[in-house]
Symmetry: C2
Subunit: 386 residues, 2 copies
């Protein structure tokens, strides 16, 4: 990129079933926190990018009411969507707007209120985010089924087991229990995961992320603005994106996501960072198998060895590369539009050493986010550092 | 902006009731034309930004199928939406991605297939793009009514008449009759407009843009890429954006759009161009009154004198500032996601002197696009030049 871009403010709402708020109030929770964190007011924001899938609630054009309620009238010309990677798409758009010189201080907001529709409708909406006209319509393939196909393939080719996947759930719930903003704060055991209700074998209820409401926000700034504001920056060192066919039957492999590998390659190359440099990562664990695939797609483990990395505890706090110490999508929750910005929130918290009970110990202060949209239709990898 | 950005390829589908195609084929019509125009193939495209409101058809996540059908797998990580300004939001995102150094060659696609829902549903969707929870829900205010409120106010304060507005319709239909890609190619007279069915007085059927299907595309490139490709560039000289409250009752005035004035001020300032420099413009004439307001918001006429500019023929071909010589939203059609990029298509055609029967004569080769979203929720103004 032409200009350096920093994150200078972050905010996130409590995730969960948020019947207490509409999208306006929900969004404001994250925006308020991000503004306070940066020491700014709405007047300082030059451009506001909104990430929301407009999940089938009452508002089908949610950007104007949400931005207006947050006091951002005049600055909010755009909503972006990339299914479950929507929050990262908002960050990408905001980062480009700073790096292009279009604006010096840009706020990215991500939110969705998914519990406004019931669970079966939610599965159908998700299915339409897969491959609508063929795989969903003809076979009824919804997201748990897609990830069950990845899981069975990974089991068959690499010997990954249901117990391995359960470990990802145990880890997620353990860390979410320490995160006041997490949706699910109960701890679970391997036995509980294995005995939980099958959704689409081998995916069980406790292998699956919940349906959550939430919002997250990040303020991006140019080097000039960082200097003027005497801000404490976390720098965007590189960003990568990928996309792939929506049809899983047309993919070249079923044990990893090409979009994520492409995004990782671009992010590593643009940041001059290699997988072994990464000390903290938030990865897209919408289902437990997705966390194992992410380790491999990001190069933290060799192909087929993702489960071993997990079993060896190398992705725990103070492990070789700590992953999802805020509870992950699996337990912290996964409000589609918010997730990518929640990932940036977490990596920034870690890099600033403000993560309290889950603070990881850094040497080189390099972190990344890995956010997947659809069943691998979209992916973004963002490398951050101090 | 940090880097100069050029338009090096443009394409547009036939607009109209396109029951002959789905969104995949519809999108490809514009992409194919743009690639051929630029002398490129899909391999040359580094990033593809998709603008679509995902108008309530079968595909609620339309970006993956549309981009995949156009051969853009791997390059399509993002969909953007800004209601009726969606196409400009896609251009804005693409321009920033080039100017930031993220990519050298970026394709922006805009499309919507609005006739997949019936007209009454379409009005309701439009109304939800207004101010949903209050003005639409409580008063049933849909888009013709919003613009009827602007029109009556303009009539009361500035003496604008129904005949003045009819002139905008007559002009639009006259030029659309010369445009093979236009939705409505019949000529109309002032009398026919005045006698046409009232929709929401003083807005009549022939004051209103039709409900159209269509797609448009533009390829943006860095100066380096222009040089390497020996392309014939049209330069993006400046871009401005604005946004405003969705509640018309909360606006400060009802005879112009603050978002559009803000966008124009930013675009003029960033391009070092003044309103009198502009020789060709495409303006957002979703209803005839909107064209008259646009003249004033863009500074082509003094406040209250927009109708006079029209009456004096100064916005005709070879007038002081020619406007909408391809038929405008009013007669060419207004497929929401496509419109902003169709405007860029037209200005580029004019600046390249490829506009055939509607070619305007230029001295300084300065054109602009003016694209409004919602009832003034969003606006983009883009200044282009050779």
């Amino acid at each position: 990129m032409n200009k350096r871009v920093a994150v200078i403010g972050i905010g996130s709402s409590k995730f969960g079933r948020r019947n207490d708020v509409g999208i306006r109030e929900l969004t404001w929770e994250a925006v308020r926190e991000a503004l306070i964190d940066a020491g700014l007011t709405q007047k300082d924001i030059q451009l506001n990018v909104i990430g929301s899938t407009a999940y089938r609630g009452t508002e089908i054009y949610p950007a104007p009411p949400a931005s207006e309620y947050s006091g951002l009238v005049g600055k909010s010309p755009i909503r972006v969507e990339a299914a479950c990677a929507t929050g990262s798409a908002a960050a990408f758009t905001a980062i480009n707007a700073v790096a292009s010189g279009m604006a010096d201080i840009v706020l990215a907001i991500g939110f969705d209120k998914m519990t406004e529709v019931d669970t079966s409708a939610s599965l159908a909406i998700g299915g339409r985010g897969g491959n609508y006209l063929w795989e969903f319509h003809m076979y009824g393939t919804t997201f748990p089924t897609y990830y069950a196909l990845y899981a069975t393939r990974h089991m068959a080719v690499y010997g990954t087991t249901e117990e391995d996947m359960a470990l990802a759930s145990v880890k997620a719930h353990k860390y979410a229990s320490l995160n006041e903003k997490a949706h699910l704060r109960n701890k679970v055991t391997v036995e509980e995961v294995l005995k939980s209700r099958p959704i689409s074998w081998p995916i069980k209820l406790l292998d699956s992320s919940p349906i959550s409401d939430g919002s997250s926000a990040a303020i991006f700034a140019s080097e000039d603005a960082v200097r003027k504001l005497h801000a404490e920056p976390v720098w965007v060192k590189g960003i990568g994106y990928g996309s792939d066919t929506s049809s899983i039957a047309s993919r070249g492999e079923w044990t990893g996501l090409k979009a994520a590998k492409d995004a990782a390659a671009m992010a590593y190359s643009s940041s001059h960072v290699s997988p072994t440099d990464v000390e903290y990562a938030t990865v897209h664990d919408c289902f437990t198998i997705a966390e194992i695939m992410a380790y491999e797609d990001l190069g933290f483990a060799e192909k087929g060895k993702g489960a071993k990395l997990l079993r060896d505890g190398q992705t725990e706090k103070d492990g070789k590369v700590a992953v999802n110490l805020f509870g992950g999508l699996k337990a912290k929750g996964h409000p589609l539009g918010a997730t990518g910005l929640a990932m940036i929130y977490e990596v920034v918290k870690q890099l600033r050493e403000e993560a309290g009970p889950v603070q990881h110990s850094f040497k080189n202060y390099i972190g990344l986010t890995h956010n997947v949209g659809g069943t691998g239709h979209y992916a973004y990898v963002t490398v951050l550092g101090r």
